[in-house]
């Protein structure tokens, strides 16, 4: 299917006027996709007083910024944002729209996709441009949306062959940040915002924000535990090790579900993506969703009692043994050599 419009849009989300890191990651990826398609990369920004965010959007490869500034758009709210974004996409029909898989993106993107009747794929771990056959028809230059599915036992490639607009959400940290040496474009297209009564149906009574509670994402060392740690008590060993070597503790989804660790420290497709200098995987079997969040770590130590666990396929150092027994030996070994 040929489509006149080959543009790639990235919804750049902001909090207090500051654009989110994930949006820059998506612009970096969007730059590559737009180059492959031969289209423009446009950053869509809604908010108030967004000068710095606009400058950064160009820095990360935007050809153009679509800017909707209004005091009432200062903070994200579902109804006005989805109405404005949905309206612009319906009118201009970009080929691809990317959203961060954040509390904002996951609230906004499905509503917009429903309005524009676009395909939307959540939590993609890779995005490429490619041709595809579907039901004996050939499609050129589709967005190939890759995501693990079904408990991580399969990797699915999703396409949106017929819909004019292809949409995807991507978690923070998945795409590489690629700043441009010199800003790409400088065109700012201002779009007026006219509030409607329905925009204000939902009112914000209170908003409470905390600093990011944990530093898992930026930690040079991550000590992670899986369901194989067996208990919350054994998880204490991970905290002990992490404290000693200057790391942060993280866990798999199974560990979160079992209550061993809080959800904000979950590493994997539906959690954080990390690239530390050292990742120590303890009692983690290594389902693909988990590996998607850690496999680019510089060095990986895997400790697991099952010698056939898939985690051993991505690690650099493999230790077959019960993590609860191995970690104290590591701690001892570290303490001895520290003296």
């Amino acid at each position: 299917m040929s489509n006149a419009n080959r543009d790639v849009w990235v919804f750049v989300e902001q909090r207090d006027g500051r654009a989110a890191e994930v949006s820059f990651e998506l612009l970096s990826k969007g730059r590559k996709l737009a180059d492959q398609l031969g289209g423009s990369l446009k950053a869509l920004l809604l908010g108030h007083e967004l000068g710095e965010a606009v400058r950064q959007a160009f820095h990360y490869g935007s050809d153009e910024v679509l800017l909707v500034e209004h005091p009432e758009l200062r903070d994200y709210r579902t109804l006005p944002y989805s109405r404005v974004v949905g309206g612009l996409i319906a009118k201009q029909q970009p080929r691809i729209v990317l959203f961060g898989a954040t509390f904002i993106g996951r609230d906004l993107a499905p509503r917009v996709a429903s309005f524009t009747r676009s395909g939307l794929t959540a939590d993609c771990t890779d995005l490429q441009i490619g041709d595809a056959d579907y039901l004996r028809r050939e499609y050129k230059d589709l967005l190939l949306q890759v995501r693990p599915a079904f408990g991580g036992n399969i990797i699915a490639t999703i396409i949106t062959p017929e819909a004019p607009v292809q949409m995807a959400t991507v978690r923070e940290g998945v795409m590489e940040l690629v700043p441009q040496a010199t800003p790409r474009g400088e065109t700012v297209t201002r779009i007026p915002y006219e509030p409607t009564a329905s925009d204000n149906l939902v009112t914000v009574v209170e908003r409470h924000r905390e600093e990011r509670r944990n530093k898992v994402k930026s930690a040079p060392i991550v000590v992670a535990g899986g369901y194989g740690m067996g208990s919350k008590k054994n998880f204490a060993l991970l905290h002990q090790l992490a404290q000693l070597i200057g790391g942060e503790v993280a866990g798999t989804r199974a560990a979160v579900d079992a209550g061993f660790i809080t959800p904000d420290r979950q590493v994997g497709q539906t959690g954080l993506t990390v690239r530390p200098k050292l990742y120590i995987a303890c009692g983690i079997s290594g389902a693909i969703q988990h590996r998607a969040g850690m496999q680019e770590s510089t060095r990986i130590i895997a400790i697991n009692s099952d010698a056939d666990a898939p985690i051993f396929d991505v690690c650099h150092y493999g230790i077959v043994g019960d993590a609860a027994a191995v970690i104290p030996l590591l701690i001892d070994g570290y303490r001895e050599r520290l003296r």
């Binding site: 499905p110 395909g119 959540a122 408990g151 490639t157 939902v202 009574v205 200098k277």
Partner: protein, 296 residues
């Protein structure tokens, strides 16, 4: 005030407990071997709706789209305390992505009649997309509050909700009707009540009765349905003929996203250094990492 709620529920494969039997040697999935469970956050959504009903009165209706087997899920909803349940089931709805699903669900909700609140779990564990809730809200032209953690107040047709956001929480206020998606922490689902459990054991949906008719030439579907309706044992079932839907927006045909290919996860074997789980082996590893300044 009383509060009438519709709760969107889904039966999902238990992806957290995939056993060896489920994965075939060629890496494909044997769905027949997958146990089906009540999607956890949908169950929390039902609990929250029941708590509102306990407090303010009103009616709770559980609604699912799925194959005939999803009748099990609706019996579970009844045993927890749902007043009514409704199965949306038709071959033409099969293969739906989130857009086609939300389209059919929104039409079913419109068919069920007036409501104050639509509840859904934040996301289902088989896809983790969190899309059907917001998409259904959009189709019904309803405001939405996603990631709801607590209903703080319901008064004079206005609801106040605390919701999770990535760096904290916010409190939102909105007039009813409204759609809420609910996170796992919002409530602890009640266990089924023994008395209700017994009562709903014999409740049947249309496809289940059709199967009985197929197996027994003495039964007629119309009379059987009448009988079940009169005894209050019929699960209301909506098919494509009962809903005002455009066929091309349902099921696989109505789904813009298509699965191009599915790869089983093939592991490369990877070259890594085996470290013996001994004091010496681990000591040497620590030394190597210290020498390379990875830590220390």
């Amino acid at each position: 005030m009383s509060c009438n709620s519709i709760v969107l529920v889904k039966q999902v494969p238990d992806t957290a407990n995939i056993s060896g039997q489920v994965m075939r040697p060629d890496g494909t999935i044997n769905r027949a071997k997958l146990p089906a469970v009540f999607n956890p956050e949908d169950k929390v959504a039902l609990e929250l709706a029941l708590q509102l009903k306990d407090r303010y009165g009103g009616k709770v209706t559980a609604l699912t789209m799925g194959p005939p087997k999803a009748s099990d899920l609706l019996r579970e909803c009844l045993s927890m305390g749902a007043d009514e349940v409704c199965l949306v089931s038709d071959r033409k709805f099969a293969g739906a992505d989130t857009l086609a699903t939300s389209y059919v669900l929104s039409r079913a909700i419109a068919k069920l009649g007036p409501f104050d609140l639509v509840f859904a779990g934040r996301q289902a564990i088989d896809g983790d997309t969190a899309q059907v809730g917001p998409q259904t809200a959009e189709k019904l032209d309803l405001p939405q509050i996603t990631y709801a953690e607590q209903i703080l107040e319901l008064r004079d047709g206005v609801i106040t909700v605390k919701r999770r956001i990535d760096d904290g929480y916010e409190v939102l206020r909105a007039p009813l009707p409204l759609l809420l998606t609910v996170i796992a922490d919002a409530a602890l689902p009640r266990p089924p009540r023994a008395k209700r459990l017994m009562a709903c054991k014999h409740v049947r949906s249309l496809p289940e009765l059709e199967r009985m008719v197929d197996a027994n030439s003495l039964l007629y579907i119309d009379t059987l349905v009448d009988e079940y309706v009169q005894q209050g044992r019929f699960i209301r079932t909506l098919t494509v003929d009962d809903l005002e839907v455009e066929a091309e927006r349902c099921g696989l045909a109505g789904s813009p996203t298509k699965v191009k290919k599915v790869d089983s996860v093939v592991l490369t074997g990877g070259n890594h250094q085996r470290v013996p789980a001994t004091r010496e082996g681990l000591g040497q590893l620590v030394e190597e990492l210290m020498n390379d300044r990875v830590f220390g």
